[in-house]
C-alpha cells in the first residue's frame, strides 16, 4: 500500500513536470517556430534583392555617364533605346568572345588529342612488333620442346630395354646361383662321402695291418713255439739261453742273419751287436727298456755289417729339382726305398728310388713354414718333420696324412727326433729349450732349458745328445732330465749323427771340422777336414755311412766330401753337380745311395755305378 501510494505520489509530481514542460514548449516554441523561420527567409531574400539592386544601380550609373556626351531630343527615349541596344551589343560581344575562347580551347584539345592518338599508335606498333618477336620465340621453343620430348621418349625406350635386359640377367643369375648352390652341396656331399670312405679305407687298412701284425705275431709265436719244441737243429748260442737271460749279453755273438731274416721287421741296420733275434723280439714287442743297449759299449767295435753293403758313390745318378726353394733336410727311409726331402717351400716330398732315379711319390703338406729336419721312425711308417713355424709334425708315410702337430715351442724347431721307443719325441728349438713329447697323449711331457739354441739332436736309449749354438754338445739323461755331460767344441755345432751301434758321435761344427767322438771315453777320436770343406750354415748336416766306415758331408761350395774313418783321410770329393751350398746329406741304409740336397733347390742322387 505504501508502495502504491508512493508510486501515485511519484506519478503526480512527475506527471506535473511532464505536463508543464509540454505546455512550456507549446507556448514558447511551437507558437513562434514557423514565424521566425519564415521571417528569416524573407530577410535573406530582401538581402539578396538589395545586393542585386545595388549591382544594377552601379551599371545604370555607368551607362548614364557614357551617354551624357551625346545630346538629343529624344534624349530620354533614345537613351533608353540606346541603352537597350548597347546592352544587347555588349551581351552579344560577350557571347562572341566567349565562343571564340571556347573554339580556341576546343582546337587546343583537338591538337592534344591528336598527339595522344599518335603516341598511342606508336605504342601499338611497338607492341605488335614485340608480339611478333614473342611469337617467333614461342615457335622456336615449341620446336625445341618437341625435339626434347622425342629425345626423352628415345631415352625412355632405351631405359626400358636395359631394364628388361637387367631383369632377364637377374633371373639367369638367380638360376645360376641356385645351380651353384646345388652343385656346391653335391660337392660337399661327395667330399664328405669320399672322406668317410677314405677313413673307412684307412680304418680297413689299419685293421688289416693289425691283422697282419697279429698274424705275423701268431706265426712267429707258432714258429717260436715250434723252434722251442725242436731242440736239435739249433746252435748252442740259442734263443733258449738268450730267453733265460734277460740281460741279453750275447758277448761275442755275431748274430746270424737267419733269425733276422725270419723277422719281418723292416729294420735293416743292426740294432744290437748281440742277438738280433733278441733285438727283433724287442722290436716286435717294443718298449723293452734298453738293457741290452746298455751293454753295447762292451761289445766289439766292428760293425755288424748288417746288410749294409756300403759303396762309396762316385757319380751322380740323378740330379733333380726337389723343391721350390732351399732344400734343408734329406733322409732315407729305413727300408732305403723312400727318400724324404724337406725345404723352405714348407713341404716334405717323398721320392722313390727306383732304377737309379728318384721318382716323386708324394708330398706331405701341413707345415706353415720351412722344414728344418726330417726323420723316419724305426718302422718307416711315420715321418717326423720339424719346422720353422715352431711346431713339429708327424705324418703317416703310406697315406701322406698329417697325424700330429706338436706345438709349444716359442721359436723355430731346428731338430726333432723319435726316441728309440717311437713313442716319444724330443725336439730342440731356437728358443733354447728341448721338449720331450709323448705321442699317445700328444703333450709335451718335459721341457728342459738348454741355455742355447739347439741345432741338432741324436738319441740313444738313455741319452739325448744335443748340439748347440754355443759350441757345446750336451748329453741329457732322459729319465733324470739333467745334463750328464757337456762337451765343448771349437765352433757352433751344426750337426750330430750316431753310427749304427751308437758308439760314436759324429759332429760337424762351424770351424769346418768334422769330429768323431768316442761315447765311452768322451774324447775326440778323429777329426776330419779338407781344403775346400767349409761348413756353409748352422744346419749343415753330415752323416755316417750305414756301416760307420765312411763319413759324408756337404760343403759350402757345393762339393760332397767323403772321408774314410779307418784311415782318417779324404776318400773322395764330388764337386761337379751342385751349384750352391750343400745343406744336408743322407746315406741310404742299404749303402748304395747317397743323396745330398743344396741351397739351390736341387738334390743329387749319388752312387758308385
Amino acid at each position: 500500500m505504501v508502495v502504491m501510494a508512493e508510486r501515485r505520489l511519484e506519478c503526480s509530481w512527475k506527471r506535473h513536470v511532464v505536463e508543464q514542460l509540454k505546455q512550456r514548449d507549446r507556448v514558447q516554441r511551437h507558437a513562434f517556430e514557423e514565424i521566425i523561420h519564415q521571417y528569416n527567409r524573407l530577410l535573406e531574400k530582401s538581402d539578396l534583392q538589395t545586393v542585386l539592386s545595388e549591382r544594377y544601380q552601379s551599371d545604370k550609373y555607368d551607362l548614364q555617364n557614357r551617354h551624357d556626351s551625346s545630346p538629343g531630343l529624344d534624349l530620354s527615349r533614345n537613351d533608353s533605346l540606346q541603352q537597350e541596344m548597347a546592352q544587347m551589343r555588349i551581351r552579344h560581344q560577350e557571347e562572341l568572345t566567349e565562343l571564340h575562347k571556347k573554339r580556341g580551347e576546343l582546337a587546343q584539345s583537338v591538337i592534344e588529342l591528336n598527339h595522344q592518338i599518335q603516341q598511342k599508335d606508336k605504342e601499338i606498333q611497338s607492341n605488335e612488333a614485340k608480339m611478333e618477336e614473342y611469337q617467333r620465340q614461342i615457335a622456336e621453343l615449341e620446336g625445341e620442346c618437341r625435339e626434347l620430348r622425342g629425345k626423352l621418349q628415345d631415352l625412355e625406350q632405351a631405359n626400358q630395354t636395359l631394364k628388361d635386359e637387367y631383369d632377364a640377367l637377374q633371373i639367369t643369375f638367380g638360376a645360376l646361383e641356385e645351380k651353384l648352390r646345388r652343385t656346391t652341396d653335391d660337392n660337399q656331399e661327395l667330399v664328405s662321402r669320399w672322406m668317410a670312405e677314405k677313413s673307412q679305407e684307412a680304418n680297413k687298412l689299419n685293421a688289416e695291418n693289425e691283422k697282419d701284425c697279429k698274424r705275423r705275431q701268431a706265426k712267429l709265436q707258432k714258429e717260436l713255439a715250434e723252434a722251442a719244441k725242436e731242440p736239435l737243429p739249433l746252435d748252442p748260442d740259442d734263443d733258449i739261453e738268450v730267453l733265460a737271460e734277460d740281460s741279453g749279453k750275447g758277448t761275442g755273438e755275431t748274430s746270424p742273419n737267419r733269425p733276422l731274416s725270419r723277422t719281418p721287421s723292416k729294420r735293416v741296420s743292426g740294432q744290437s751287436p748281440q742277438s738280433s733275434l733278441l733285438g727283433s723280439i724287442s722290436n716286435i714287442f717294443g718298449r723293452r727298456p734298453g738293457n741290452s743297449y746298455g751293454s753295447s759299449p762292451e761289445c766289439t767295435e766292428t760293425p755288424s755289417g748288417v746288410c749294409a753293403d756300403v759303396r762309396v758313390p762316385a757319380t751322380a745318378l740323378h740330379v733333380f729339382e726337389a723343391h721350390d726353394g732351399e732344400v734343408n733336410a734329406v733322409r732315407f727311409s729305413p727300408g732305403s726305398r723312400l727318400l724324404a726331402t724337406g725345404g723352405m717351400d714348407r713341404r716334405v716330398k717323398l721320392w722313390e728310388v727306383v732304377s737309379g732315379r728318384c721318382e716323386p711319390k708324394g708330398a706331405l703338406t701341413g707345415s706353415n713354414a720351412g722344414i728344418t729336419s726330417i726323420e723316419f721312425d724305426s718302422a718307416g711308417s711315420y715321418l717326423l718333420a720339424a719346422s720353422n713355424d715352431f711346431a713339429s709334425r708327424i705324418w703317416t708315410v703310406d697315406d701322406f696324412r698329417l697325424r700330429h702337430t706338436l706345438t709349444g715351442h716359442s721359436g723355430k724347431v731346428l731338430a726333432a727326433r723319435f726316441l728309440l721307443d717311437n713313442a716319444r719325441i724330443v725336439s730342440g728349438s731356437y728358443d733354447r729349450t728341448l721338449k720331450l713329447w709323448d705321442l699317445r697323449s700328444k703333450v709335451c711331457m718335459k721341457t728342459v732349458f738348454a741355455g742355447s739354441s739347439c741345432n741338432d739332436i741324436v738319441c740313444t736309449e738313455q741319452c739325448v745328445m744335443s748340439g748347440h749354438f754355443d759350441k757345446r754338445v750336451r748329453f741329457w739323461d732322459i729319465r733324470a732330465e739333467s745334463i750328464v755331460r757337456e762337451l765343448e767344441l771349437m765352433g757352433r755345432v751344426t750337426s750330430l749323427d750316431l753310427n749304427h751301434d751308437r758308439t760314436e758321435l759324429l759332429t760337424c761344427s762351424r770351424d769346418d771340422l768334422v769330429k768323431i767322438i768316442d761315447l765311452r771315453s768322451n774324447a775326440v777320436r778323429q777329426t776330419f777336414s779338407a781344403q775346400g770343406f767349409k761348413c756353409g750354415a748352422d744346419w749343415t748336416r753330415v752323416t755316417f755311412s750305414p756301416d760307420g766306415s765312411y763319413v759324408a758331408g756337404g760343403s759350402a761350395d757345393g762339393a760332397l766330401y767323403i772321408w774314410n774313418v779307418l784311415t782318417g783321410k779324404l776318400e773322395r770329393t764330388l764337386d761337379k753337380n751342385h751349384s750352391s751350398a750343400i745343406n744336408s746329406v743322407s746315406w741310404s741304409p742299404s749303402g748304395a745311395y747317397v743323396v745330398s740336397v743344396e741351397k739351390g733347390c736341387k738334390a743329387v742322387l749319388w752312387s758308385d755305378m
Partner: protein, 274 residues
C-alpha cells in the same frame, strides 16, 4: 515511467526561447538594421549561439565601429556565462514573447560582464561547472575517471546540439552507488532577482540521515525558506521555465532537470500580481 524520464530529458534539452534581437539605436549603421528573430536553446550560452545575429548586424555596420558584441535586456547586461534558459526565467519569465534582447557593439560594460573572445572560453567555463558539480556528487571520482575525449564529447554535444552524443557520457555522471540512494550532495544554485548575492549554493544531501528522500520543498526550507513562506504565494520557483511541485524528490530533479553543466539552476522570482 522510464519513458517519461526520457521524455523529460529530451524536452529539457530541446527547450527553446523565441528571441528578437534589435540593434541598439545608437549604434552607427549604414542603413537601417532589421531586427533578427531566433529560437535560442535554453541549455546553451548566448555567445555560443549568436553567430548569425552578429553576422546579420555586421552587414549594416562599418568594420571600424565594431567591438565585442554584448547583449542586454531592459537595461540589464546579460551575463553570457549563465545558461540562456536561466537568464530568461530570471529576467523575462512572465513577459510577452518573443524575448527582446538589445545588441550592443560598443561600450562593453567591464564591470558587469566577462569578456568572451572565443569559444574555448565558453568551453572552459562549461567544463569547470561540470567538474564542480561532480565534485559535489561523487567527490570528482566519475569525472576524473573519464578520458579527455569524453570531456570533449560533452562539450561537442552541447556545442552542436547533439542530445545522444552528450547524454552518452553524461549518464555516467548521473549514476550513483545504489547503497547511497543518491548523490553525495546535490549541485544546485538558487538565483534571486532581488538580492545582492548572485546565487545561493550550499551543501545539501538528497537522502536524510534517517533515510527518507529530500524534496524540493525540503531544500528551499533549508536554504531559502523565504521562497515558500506562504504569504499568498509571493514567489515562483522556476526551473527550465516550469514550476515543479514542492514534493518532487531532489535526487530526481538533479538527475533529470539539471542543465548540461550538471547544476540545478533554480530561479526564485516574484509571482505575477494578476
Amino acid at each position: 515511467m522510464i519513458a517519461d524520464d526520457k521524455d523529460v530529458l529530451r524536452d529539457v534539452w530541446f527547450g527553446r526561447i523565441p528571441t528578437c534581437f534589435t540593434l541598439y539605436q545608437d549604434e552607427v549603421t549604414e542603413r537601417e538594421a532589421e531586427p533578427f528573430y531566433l529560437l535560442l536553446p535554453r541549455v546553451s550560452y548566448l555567445t555560443l549561439v549568436t553567430d548569425k545575429v552578429k553576422k546579420h548586424f555586421l552587414k549594416v555596420m562599418k568594420a571600424e565601429d565594431v567591438e565585442e558584441i554584448w547583449f542586454e535586456y531592459e537595461g540589464t547586461p546579460l551575463k553570457w556565462h549563465y545558461p540562456i534558459g536561466l537568464l530568461f526565467d530570471l529576467h523575462a519569465s512572465n513577459t510577452s514573447l518573443p524575448w527582446s534582447i538589445t545588441v550592443h557593439f560598443k561600450n562593453f560594460p567591464e564591470r558587469d560582464l566577462l569578456h568572451c573572445p572565443c569559444n574555448s572560453v565558453i568551453e572552459a567555463h562549461f567544463m569547470s561547472s561540470i567538474k564542480e558539480a561532480d565534485a559535489l556528487k561523487h567527490k570528482s571520482q566519475v569525472i576524473n575517471d573519464m578520458q579527455k575525449k569524453d570531456h570533449k564529447q560533452l562539450w561537442m554535444g552541447l556545442q552542436n546540439d547533439k542530445f545522444d552524443q552528450f547524454w552518452a557520457i553524461n549518464r555516467k555522471l548521473m549514476e550513483y552507488p545504489t547503497e547511497e540512494g543518491g548523490f553525495r550532495y546535490i549541485p544546485f544554485r538558487i538565483y534571486l532577482t532581488m538580492s545582492d548575492r548572485p546565487f545561493i549554493q550550499k551543501l545539501f544531501r538528497p537522502i536524510s540521515p534517517d533515510g527518507h528522500t529530500h524534496t524540493l520543498g525540503d531544500l528551499l526550507k533549508e536554504v531559502y525558506p523565504v521562497a515558500i513562506a506562504n504569504e499568498a504565494k509571493r514567489y515562483q520557483v522556476v526551473i527550465h521555465g516550469i514550476e515543479p511541485l514542492l514534493e518532487t524528490p531532489l535526487q530526481w530533479l538533479s538527475e533529470h532537470l539539471s542543465h548540461p553543466d550538471n547544476f540545478l539552476h533554480i530561479s526564485v522570482i516574484p509571482a505575477p500580481s494578476d
